[in-house]
């Protein structure tokens, strides 16, 4: 039987804000693009996100953050993943992130940040270019 890799993505909503419409829209768009999206719902701690990412063996983790806590939450998720022995798992984010913070996060190893105004097809294109080759590699 031939290998049929299917891209699996965890979409999580860390922190205390309850604005999950963006996360749901993105989750739906990614599923429509043919990916398997594991959606974990609101109020996830970095440990919960890392644990789910490991158990689900995903190729990519997307975080939606509207609370302004992105500079804390992204590194915390990276650390929680490393603690579980997972390095180099691509991470992307969406939400309200100022330009200077965006640069700092990308420097810190976050693979992409999509701010308001991004179309869902831009996210899918980014995944096709940056994630699919690794998954099918």
């Amino acid at each position: 039987m031939s290998t049929q890799r299917k891209i699996r993505i965890l979409v999580a909503k860390p922190g205390l804000d309850g604005h999950d419409r963006g996360a749901k829209v993105v989750a739906r768009a990614l599923a429509d693009a043919g990916y398997e999206v594991i959606y974990t719902g609101l109020h996830q701690t970095p440990d919960m996100i890392a644990s789910a990412a490991v158990q689900e063996a995903v190729d990519l983790v997307g975080l939606s953050i509207m609370s302004g806590a992105h500079m804390t939450l992204f590194p915390a998720v990276q650390k929680a993943l490393e603690k579980r022995g997972v390095k180099d798992l691509p991470l992307f984010g969406g939400g309200i992130v100022p330009e200077e913070d965006k640069a700092a996060l990308l420097d810190g190893g976050v693979n992409a940040i999509f701010t308001p105004g991004t179309t869902t097809s831009e996210i899918v294109d980014w995944i096709e270019v940056n994630v699919r080759p690794k998954v099918e590699g």
Binding site: Q4, E36, Y39, T40, G41, Q44, S51, R84
Partner: protein, 323 residues
């Protein structure tokens, strides 16, 4: 990598799984689901280490509360000190192949409990309520040392009964108010229930539903195995202790009676036939591709130049002649 390296990698991953390492086990599950060559060989090494886990199937209509019940069950079994694995299946889109797997949402409180391993799976076109590789994922969880594995099927209608050939005990969740549909599904999933849970029992009509179900059970032939019916309001954790007790009782039934052995044989037979079907189909398709090709044969059938029965028989005869 050379094939020796591949083998060495596979051996170490098998050892990792047996040692209960989540990262390795999760990736093996992924490879099994994605049909990566060699993953099945790792499973063969794990097989002698399986059989220790009790597998509990939870099935029922979409929205009947399966995930919430599973969440409550995880808590009870964790309190009892068991290591719990969960395989939760949601449907893939028939159009895009994509899926939103959302069963974890209801099980969030167990997300960082190291004694709980939750795996979401998409059906990927597989019918019957489970995904093609559900049994493989259960085997990996079993080999890791989980005591109890809960399998939550996709929301089912009438005929998706694969869970019965996978689980030791099958729980079917129904909700009040389906009225005549109870009649309609009595020949479907209700038949496979070892335990019937009427969830959302704070709604009107719960007692009526229980009565309908009891009546249906009374109509069965004499000597049919006991089926327990209970009410629950899973969202308030009501009725869960009763459910755990019912599972225990059913488990005792399986221990005592020849029933347990019969079921084990049924599960093994159904698994073997499943795999034979898959492998035979693969071999036939491979052979076709080497010969005139699937498309050409399909065309001849569509043009009524050959009938599909003869075509399949010829192909199979050639396959058998090969060995």
């Amino acid at each position: 990598m050379t094939s020796d390296n591949v083998r060495a990698g596979a051996v170490s991953r098998v050892e990792d799984v047996l040692a209960g390492r989540v990262v390795s086990a999760a990736r093996l599950m992924r490879d099994l689901d994605d049909l990566v060559p060699g993953a099945v060989d790792e499973l063969k090494h794990l097989y002698p280490h399986t059989g220790g886990a009790f597998v509990l199937g939870v099935t029922g209509n979409p929205g009947s509360g399966k995930s919430t019940i599973v969440d409550c069950l995880i808590r009870r079994y964790r309190d009892a000190g068991l290591r719990v694995g969960v395989v939760a299946i949601d449907p893939s889109s028939p159009f895009t192949g994509g899926a939103i797997l959302g069963d974890r949402i209801r099980m969030q409180r167990h997300a960082t409990d190291e004694g709980v391993f939750i795996r979401s799976m998409a059906t990927r076109g597989h019918l019957g309520g489970l995904s093609r590789s559900t049994q493989d994922v259960i085997s990996v969880m079993d080999a890791m040392g989980h005591d109890l594995i809960i399998v939550e099927t996709v929301g089912v209608g009438q005929d998706e009964v694969d869970v019965v050939s996978t689980a030791h005990t099958s729980v079917v969740v129904v909700v009040p108010g389906l009225g005549d549909e109870i009649q309609a599904i009595k020949a479907g999933i209700l038949e496979i229930a070892d335990i019937l849970v009427v969830n959302k029992a704070d709604r009107a009509g719960a007692d009526r539903t229980v009565a309908d179900l009891s009546m249906m059970l009374d109509l069965r032939s004499e000597g049919a195995p006991a089926v327990r019916i209970l009410k629950a309001v899973a969202i308030n954790e009501e009725g869960i202790a009763d459910l755990v007790e019912a599972v225990d009782l059913h488990r005792q039934d399986l221990d005592h009676e020849a029933e347990g052995r019969r079921r084990a044989l049924d599960r093994a037979e159904s698994r073997l036939k499943d795999l034979l079907r898959t492998l035979a189909l693969e071999s036939a398709l491979t052979r076709l591709e080497a010969g005139e090709g699937l498309a050409a044969l399909v065309e001849r059938i569509a043009e009524r130049k050959i009938d599909p029965y003869s075509a399949a028989e010829q192909l199979l005869a050639e396959l058998m002649g090969d060995s």
